[in-house]
Amino acid sequence: MASFEGAGSLALGQRAVGLLDAELPRAQEPARLEAPDFSAVYEAHVGRIYGYVFSQVGNREEAEDLTSQIFLKVYNSLSRFEGRGSLEGWLFQIARVTVNDHWREKYRLPAMPLPDGLEIVDNEVPPDFNRASREDRVGQILDALPPNYRDVLRYRFLQRCSVKETAAAMNLTETNVKVLQFRALRKAAQVGQELSW
């Protein structure tokens, strides 16, 4: 008897909910999103997240390490993604925090602010870290430097010249190249902090 009543009230309950749903204007329905499928999130974003991390650490081993950490965090918190803002923005926030933590723990460096206009807020699409935009940002930093600083960094980082080759090209001693590189990087870090990347 009890089970019969239970079944009856359940059916009634379902009907009632159905009616209520039909009568509610759509706009008032709570905006609920299913937690996204993790494998789809992984396949769609692993390339881009790795690309961002790589741009921040400059080597494969650390980039792979941090990318793994980021996706493990995402894996553990995907159910908490509430569908506010873009999934990419949320992923990217996790990536950014992870990268900043890495530099803070390793070298006690402050977090890198995002470039102007690229703050991640709810619906904002995260900045693009593909190769072309990275090159743009590198260009901005180099352009803001005095010519000899710019040259030494161009030879070393963009043309991948050795210290010896750079010395020959710039008509300097190898020690001079290293000192110039040291100063140029220190200045670039200041410029970078202002421009962000």
């Binding site: 993790f38 741009s55 590198v138 220190r186 990347w197």
Partner: protein
């Protein structure tokens, strides 16, 4: 360059060592005891070093390793599946966990007619024809694909561009698949590289389950 702001040579050398390691593509050894300004140089050096690096896309091997790790059970990973009745039976008994990331392979296997699935695998190349670092086109039924050997791991992707279904060409210099029709570029993980040239990123290239048995490489034709 006045003598008083001459930086200490040990710092200069330490930063240069860091740069050298980055430019070689290595993980730099930690640099100790630098003042803050010089420590910030390391981060900007990493950024500059990333600009022209060939490693700015994840390797297919890494993407797969992480996929397996996230799936949590290496044996369930589709590359871990054995091409045997027992392996397949185990795959079915275990079902496909909702969070198994290795979906393509397992689903493709499930679509096949039960434990006699090996019938759905077709040989496409001899393993000896695909040494590490090489790419080889294949056609199996109406499927066009590319086999890759990345550091000893065999991997296959559809050779059909996800834009307008043109066939992709392998560009060895760029290590990318390039579409002759509209120029879409995909890396060896199947992710589009030149996203900025399209209104929206193109879907990744479909992965094709692949197995190696007795020196022969098989793919699934679903």
């Amino acid at each position: 360059m006045t003598p008083e702001d001459e930086p200490p040579m040990d710092q200069v050398e330490a930063v240069d060592r860091y740069v050298e390691e980055l430019l070689r593509g290595d993980k730099p050894a930690p640099v100790k005891e630098l003042p803050e300004g010089a420590r910030a140089s390391l981060r900007v050096a990493a950024f500059l070093a990333s600009a022209e690096s060939y490693q700015s896309q994840p390797s297919a091997a890494f993407v797969e390793r992480l996929r397996e790790r996230l799936a949590g059970d290496k044996d369930r990973g589709w590359l871990g599946l054995r091409l045997t009745r027992r392996g397949l039976a185990r795959g079915f008994a275990g079902g496909v966990a909702a969070l198994t990331v290795c979906l393509f392979g397992e689903q493709a296997l499930q679509r096949l007619a039960g434990p006699q699935a090996p019938a759905g695998w077709v040989p496409v190349a001899k393993a000896s024809e695909l040494p590490p670092g090489t790419v080889k086109r294949f056609v199996a039924g109406d499927m066009d694909g590319n086999l890759m050997n990345i550091g000893g791991r065999i991997w296959a992707l559809s050779a059909v561009c996800t834009h307008m279904a043109c066939l992709l060409e392998w560009e060895g210099d760029q290590q990318e698949f390039v579409c002759g029709c509209h120029g879409a570029e995909f890396n060896t993980s199947g992710q589009q590289v030149n996203v900025e040239e399209y209104n929206a990123p193109l879907p990744p290239l479909a992965r094709i389950p692949v197995q190696q048995l007795n020196g022969t490489i098989y793919v699934v034709t679903a």
